[in-house]
């Protein structure tokens, strides 16, 4: 099929540019603690990479299927608490061994997500959004009221390694977060290219039609929801270990749940790189605002203002809007007849151009 003139044209230069950018980003991420080991920088890096992972994980459900969960903080908090409780009850030696429990916390979160998803996915659209928020607040309330288990409002202190000091303290957490962000990206990329992922995108476009062509929509949605929650739960576990003290209102935090959604929207819903770009731009900005404006909470106003401006100017997010601009530019360069068969209507999800292996497929 390749070489069929009808399929989308993809200049090799763009592929090379993309690979180069990706390699540069990976190198930067790997070397960051070496180049800038001061705790202020690594702390910011940990939170940025954390949100790359969170927004990417959330996107597997919200972006691909179009089911907007505003309650993913439930899984974040559950991951953190289940991890913390295991650490305390199993008397795990602080240091590196606790990281081995991160996948266990993820699996426990996945089990919870099967239950929540089973119920929440009986609804669609706005109702689904509300049901997910409700579950998040239910878990927050449980965290506050099961005092004997969670310590309630007084918080839950986690052991941490006293051997790690100075500049080094943040570094293991940074690499753990980075590993999870990469894992989320790999899973997201893999799903996106699979028939399963195509089924999810079909659900986003027209769920009943997907059902009519044999897509087991309930199973697909639940699977995406659980995978997404599992990743978020693992990230929550590392977060809990890093901050060493858990309070229900700070891990079952609606702001965390909303932030990951905003970042995915900001970068481009349902695209692979959108949530990454959204997190890389928004999280450092948010931390910077929080640092400069401090306790006034004015940083939230700034955050909201930035978001409103972007929504007004680039309503579909950065990646699809930029991809459209590039496509338009390329078409003009090639003349009116050589624009390729790929027309992007206003409603298009506008992903990055397809890889050669996927010619004719809109969704890399």
């Amino acid at each position: 099929m390749s070489g069929t003139p009808t399929l989308a044209i993809r200049p090799a230069r763009a592929t090379a540019l993309k690979a180069f950018g990706l390699a540069l980003l990976a190198l930067l991420a790997l070397l960051l603690p070496v180049v800038a080991p001061d705790p202020a920088t690594t702390n910011m890096a940990i939170f940025t990479v954390m949100y790359v992972g969170l927004a990417t994980s959330w996107n597997i459900m919200g972006g691909y299927t179009g089911y907007i969960s505003l309650g993913h903080a439930a899984f974040f908090g559950f991951g953190a608490y289940s991890f913390g409780l295991m650490l305390i009850h199993f008397n795990v030696t602080p240091g590196y061994p606790p990281f081995a429990l991160v996948p266990v916390a993820g699996l426990l979160t996945a089990v919870l997500a099967v239950g929540i998803g089973w119920i929440a996915l009986r609804t669609r659209a706005a109702t689904f959004v509300i049901v997910t928020i409700a579950f998040m607040f239910m878990l927050q309330l449980l965290g506050e009221n099961l005092v004997e288990l969670t310590g309630g409002g007084a918080g839950l202190g986690l052991p941490y390694s006293h051997d790690w000091g100075g500049d080094f303290f943040n570094i293991p957490y940074y690499y753990a977060m980075l590993a999870l962000a990469v894992l989320a990206l790999v899973i997201s990329w893999w799903i996106r290219r699979s028939k399963f992922g195509l089924g999810l995108l079909a659900i986003r476009d027209d769920e009943d039609k997907a059902l009519a062509v044999g897509v087991p929509t309930r199973g697909f949605k639940l699977t995406a929801f659980v995978i997404s929650a599992l990743l978020v739960g693992m990230i929550g576990a590392v977060y809990g270990y890093y901050i060493t003290y858990l309070y229900p209102q700070f891990v079952f935090d609606p702001l965390i749940g909303i932030s990951m959604v905003l970042m995915a929207f900001f970068g481009g819903l349902g695209t692979l790189s959108g949530p990454v770009i959204g997190a890389l731009l928004l999280e450092p900005a948010q931390l910077e605002f929080a640092y400069r404006l401090g306790a006034s909470k004015l940083y939230l106003v700034f955050y909201a203002a930035v978001f409103l401006i972007v929504i007004l100017l680039l309503p579909r997010g950065i990646v699809p809007s930029v991809a459209d601009l590039v496509r338009g530019w390329r078409r003009r360069q090639m003349g009116p007849t050589a624009g390729g068969s790929r027309k992007a209507p206003a409603a298009s999800a506008g992903e990055e151009p397809p890889t050669p292996a996927q010619q004719g497929l809109a969704s890399p």
Partner: protein, 243 residues
């Protein structure tokens, strides 16, 4: 032999009886038309057969097996495909991706791996070429013309090789040249072994294409026979003209 057998099928929506003890059968290898005035229950019969709504009573048998109450994806898996009125396709997927969405008897491995895609894509491109729309393989569904959507929907439903395809107004809203192309493709697919049941208002299209016609009126099958027999049936004229 009947591929699809509907017996005493009933469905009410509140006080409205949409399908009322309806019985009909679709012979294997046929192109059967389902006609009737607006509101006679044709689309409801489609929705009942394909599992989109559950019947209040009666039976639907496919290859002698009861399928009433199964989910639409299961029914598609058994080999019954359908199209919708007004051509529903996935607007934000390309035409080729639209072709690759259908799932039939796919195991977990098939869903997660990409190994089968080469073969599937080849088949998809062949089917697009068969419908004369391979030039739009890379175009997003939402950017296709209505006629192209009609052809794409039919092409996509054929991807999983269904034995029976239910077409809801395949001729609705398309120009005469395209109408002939659609009829020709249906005839060819039928020649290759696919059975069709179609709902249509364009009588010329039905009479020209169908081997057998069933007439619905107020949720009941009031007549059946060859197109010519049905055309001359006084009960059918009554139903249509309301005399």
């Amino acid at each position: 032999m009947s591929l699809l057998e509907i017996n005493d099928l009933s469905k009410r929506f509140g006080g409205v009886v949409a399908v009322d003890s309806c019985s009909l059968s679709v012979p294997a290898g046929s192109i059967t038309g389902l006609i009737g005035p607006n509101g006679s229950g044709k689309t409801t019969v489609f929705n009942l057969v394909t599992g989109f709504i559950a019947p209040d009573g009666g039976q639907v048998r496919y290859k002698a097996r009861s399928i009433a109450g199964l989910n639409p994806d299961r029914i598609y898996g058994l080999g019954i495909g359908r199209t919708f009125q007004l051509a529903r396709i996935f607007p934000r997927l390309t035409a080729l991706e639209n072709m690759l969405v259908p799932v039939r008897r796919a195991g977990l491995r098939a869903l997660l791996s990409q190994g089968q895609w080469g073969h599937e894509k080849e088949r998809a491109m062949e089917m697009l070429a068969f419908m004369d729309i391979s030039q739009v393989a890379g175009t997003l569904g939402g950017a296709l013309s209505y006629g192209q959507r009609k052809l794409l929907e039919l092409a996509a439903v054929m991807m999983a090789g269904p034995e029976l395809v239910l077409l809801d107004e395949p001729a609705g809203g398309v120009n005469p040249a395209l109408l002939e192309r659609i009829a020709e493709r249906i005839r060819q697919l039928n020649g290759q072994g696919t059975t069709f049941l179609l709902v249509e208002h364009n009588m010329g299209f039905v009479m020209n294409l169908c081997h057998e016609v069933v007439v619905l009126h107020q949720g009941r099958a009031i007549a059946k026979g060859t197109p010519n027999e049905v055309r001359e049936n006084p009960a059918v004229l009554d139903a249509y003209l309301g005399t």
